[in-house]
């Protein structure tokens, strides 16, 4: 009997591994399993300390644009905001732009950080696709992005009224993610 069990052990091990792989495949299809995704370490933690030069564009003053420098302390400004890392050279950023615009038009405060981008390229990008941001910081060296644990643009963080990160998305904002972000925002308002 013990020998029988021993002979069954390889089958059992293979079956367990197979079940695991099947679960991975299924979750990959629904997007719940992404072996490549890098987690954020900031959830539930205050945003890192940073100070970035602001981004100014004369043509955008009418769109509520302020060329104020962006600092970590500004994020704990008593209301929750969405912080989006983007770049003009990033194709998924173009893809998610309409959803950011929709959030902006719904009155949700969106701040942007231009990651390793030239100011004129950023301006051209926003001019072409529309500017959803009320404030923009310029992370030319990409070091603030590293402090946020950003591995690639676009990435979006939801920061609550006290400056604590509550939600995070790596990759372009899908419609579901945008809805989730909006509802989270209401929750922390």
């Amino acid at each position: 009997m013990r020998r029988r069990l021993l002979l069954l052990a390889p089958l059992g091990a293979a079956a367990l591994a197979g079940a695991g792989f099947l679960a991975m495949l299924r979750r990959m299809r629904t997007g719940r399993f992404d072996p490549r995704g890098v987690p954020t370490m900031l959830l539930g933690k205050p945003v890192p300390i940073f100070a970035l030069p602001g981004f100014a564009l004369p043509g955008f003053a009418s769109a509520g644009f302020a060329s104020v420098d962006l600092a970590g302390a500004d994020l704990a400004g008593g209301r929750p905001i969405l912080l989006n890392f983007f770049a003009s050279w990033c194709a998924p950023c173009v893809a998610e732009n309409p959803r950011l615009m929709a959030l902006h038009e719904a009155g949700i405060p969106l701040w942007g950080i231009a990651y390793k981008d030239r100011p004129d390229a950023t301006a051209a990008f926003l001019g072409r696709h529309g500017n959803p941001f009320t404030r923009i910081g310029r992370d030319d060296a990409g070091l603030t992005a590293i402090d946020f644990g950003v591995t690639g643009v676009p990435e979006t963080f939801l920061i609550d009224a006290s400056g604590v990160v509550r939600w995070h998305l790596s990759g372009p904002l899908t419609q579901e993610a945008a809805d989730e972000a909006a509802s989270m925002l209401r929750q922390y308002a």
Partner: protein, 653 residues
């Protein structure tokens, strides 16, 4: 030759595969001699059909038939002919077809060379091969059809990834696949033995040459892949513990264990159940290696490319083949009784130790490869497992293997005297310790240990021959006669073990590599490891489907010219990609290795390496494979040879 002919031949091959699976197995079960005898013909038929299908694919690639999707996506009119041919297996669909072709070749090989096998065993082996062929050919036909058409046909193809346009990589996949798929034969023998309920010494003798052939090809394939990454990827690394590399290492480790445990089955009728399990396990790992990588699970560690529907098909196929054979194992393995008893200290004992250690290494490599996936699935923990982990865990397990490699052959079967064996190898041990201590003077502990191990293994292998021919103990002429009379199999063992030692020495040497990265203007010299690399000139050079930028370097040592190196950067316009072509000058004992980087202000970034003993890594692998080949030539191991000898003896009488 049209792609439709290839498509039809593939469908025909599936039909043959079903016939090959059903008729012989049914015949063996019903003891129907006619059905059993049909097996070889069906296997040959399947091989011819698949050969036609593959030829059609190669033809489409060679004639630039861009109406075939696969060709349009992977070829280009300007691509050199050799890469048009190798491009046929340089993509998913084509490589699956090649995989199936090699499986059909295995069936054909058993049909042709297995004439001396008992009829029922041969029928079952061919039947099991046909059964696995059914699944994979269906996969090729239904899920990854290489003959899919594209309309309208583009004017030109997209070209192949430039990194793959390389002679080393052109032949790496076929060799590797022959190795992977070759293990289907020991697997089929194992399943046939479970069906028959019998494993004996003859079974062990029949299985060994097939295992050995597959092992040789796998060794060569892995070495070729590692060599390619050494010279093509451009920073002198040769093994990265990447999931895809690990996938090829796993069946090599268990295949090596199988090679050794089959000896025990043949000589001593022991370890039968274990050998059967190893044969199943090795082929299962080959399958998982080739297919899991394509399912989007392991591959997704690398990239976003995933196709869950293909993945589910693959997983189902693996579940059928692996699960089915392990179920059969669980049900039938208890019928196999081992008779040979042996003491822990004996040749068998050493081989058991070798098996435990090799399989432990395989288990660790497998755990490390899939652990991040399961940690994510089960605990939601995101972790990485990389080279530092594998180096830290595999090395301690490898050291006892190295020790046993020289000690094991010195032990006698059944019961051995460890002290006597150690005494016999005393001069080897002294030399190894001396080499290790000597190496310790100039370097760190780990390379010194590896050098000691290399000397121990190489001299131990030579010592085995010295011992067998009783050199210096009997007159030289008698020794020479003994030498000539040695079976080729024991030469093979000696060579294979010595080759491992050479590879270890090469790896140890590589850990002493020196490198220099400089921004150099033409006319300037860079000193490295006693050599001076002088940048003579930077110029452009045209290529067939690329343009290249070449740096000419003159290497001198103490003013005397040593070599001219011309590393280059190639830009491929169709794929919009740049590759670096390293220039390597080898002396046999070291490599001088140069890579050309970016240029600014008339100066070029040069990355120069001095890699001591680097060529030994692949030279050792070549010796290992050659050792296996020599063993294959041993007539004791030739399939059915004993039976033929007996038959001719009977005829004479």
């Amino acid at each position: 030759m049209s792609p439709e002919l290839g498509h039809f031949a593939l469908a025909l091959a599936v039909a043959f595969a079903f016939a090959q699976a059903i008729l012989p197995l049914w015949g063996a079960w019903r003891r129907d001699a006619r059905l059993m005898q049909a097996a070889p013909a069906i296997a040959i038929g399947q091989l011819v059909a698949l050969g036609t299908a593959y030829a059609a694919l190669v033809w489409a690639a060679v004639t630039d038939d861009f109406s075939v999707l696969n060709v349009a996506e992977n070829s280009h009119t300007l691509k050199p002919l050799i890469y048009k041919i190798s491009g046929s297996w340089g993509n998913h669909e084509g490589s699956i077809l090649l995989w199936c072709l090699i499986l059909a070749m295995c069936g054909g090989a058993v049909a042709v060379f297995g004439r001396a096998l008992p009829a029922s065993l041969r029928a079952r082996v061919i039947g099991v091969l046909g059964l696995s062929a059914c699944g994979f050919e269906l996969f090729a036909l239904l899920e990854s059809n290489p003959f899919a058409r594209l309309w309208p046909a583009p004017v030109d193809g997209r070209d192949m990834n430039p990194l793959l346009q390389d002679p080393g990589l052109a032949f790496h996949p076929p060799l590797l696949y022959v190795g992977y798929v070759g293990f289907a034969i020991p697997f089929a023998f194992a399943i046939a033995a479970l069906l028959e309920g019998r494993v004996d010494a003859a079974w062990g003798r029949w299985v060994r040459p097939w295992t050995l052939a597959a092992w040789c090809c796998l060794t060569g394939g892995i070495a070729l892949g590692s060599w390619w990454s050494y010279y093509e990827l451009g920073w002198g690394g040769f093994w990265f513990w990447d999931p895809v590399e690990n996938a090829s290492l796993l069946p090599w480790l268990t295949g090596t264990a199988l090679l050794h445990s089959a000896i025990v089955v043949e000589k001593r009728e022991a370890l039968k159940v274990w050998t059967i399990l190893l044969a199943i396990g090795t082929f299962s790992l080959s399958l998982s290696g080739t297919f899991l990588v394509r399912s989007g699970i392991l591959n997704s560690v690398h990239s976003f490319a995933s196709d869950p529907s293909r993945g589910v098909f693959i997983l189902g196929l693996l579940a059928l083949v692996i699960g089915g054979s392990l179920l059969l194992f669980a049900l039938r393995a208890s019928l196999l009784s081992s008779s040979g008893l042996f003491a822990p200290v004996s040749r068998e004992g050493a081989l058991v130790l070798n098996n435990i250690l090799l399989c432990s290494i395989a288990a660790v490599v497998m755990t490390g490869t899939i652990y991040p996936l399961f940690a994510d699935l089960l605990f939601g923990a995101k972790i990485s497992v990389g080279p530092p982990f594998f180096n830290a865990t595999v090395l301690p397990l490898a050291v006892p293997v190295f020790i046993a490699m020289s000690l094991g052959p010195a032990l006698s079967w059944k019961r051995a005297d460890l002290g006597a064996a150690v005494l016999r190898l005393w001069w080897v041990a002294v030399a190894a310790v001396a080499a290790g201590l000597f190496a310790l003077i100039g370097m760190q502990a780990l390379p010194a240990l590896a050098f000691g191990a290399a000397v121990w293994i190489i001299l131990g292998a030579i010592g085995e021959v010295v011992e067998r021919i009783r050199l210096f103990r009997v007159p030289v002429a008698a020794s020479a006669a003994r030498f000539a009379g040695l079976p080729r199999g024991s030469f093979g063992t000696t060579l294979a073990h010595a080759g491992m030692g050479v590879t270890i020495a090469g790896i140890a040497g590589m850990s002493l590599a020196q490198e220099s990265i400089t921004l150099t203007k033409p006319g300037e010299g860079v000193p490295l490891a006693g050599y001076v690399f002088t940048l003579v000139d930077l110029h452009d050079a045209p290529g067939p489907n690329y343009a290249s930028r070449v740096a000419d370097l003159r290497v001198t040592r103490d003013g005397a010219p040593v070599a001219l190196l011309s590393p280059s950067r190639r830009t491929f316009p169709v794929q919009k990609m740049t590759t670096t072509e390293a220039a390597i000058h080898t002396t046999g004992f070291s490599d001088l290795y140069a890579v050309l980087g970016d240029e600014r202000d008339g100066a070029a970034v040069l990355r120069l390496h001095y890699n001591p003993l680097a060529p030994w890594i692949w030279f050792g692998a070549l010796i290992m494979a050659a050792g296996g080949g020599i063993s294959l030539a041993d007539r004791r191991l030739r399939v059915g040879a004993p039976m033929r000898a007996r038959a001719s003896a009977a005829a004479k009488a």
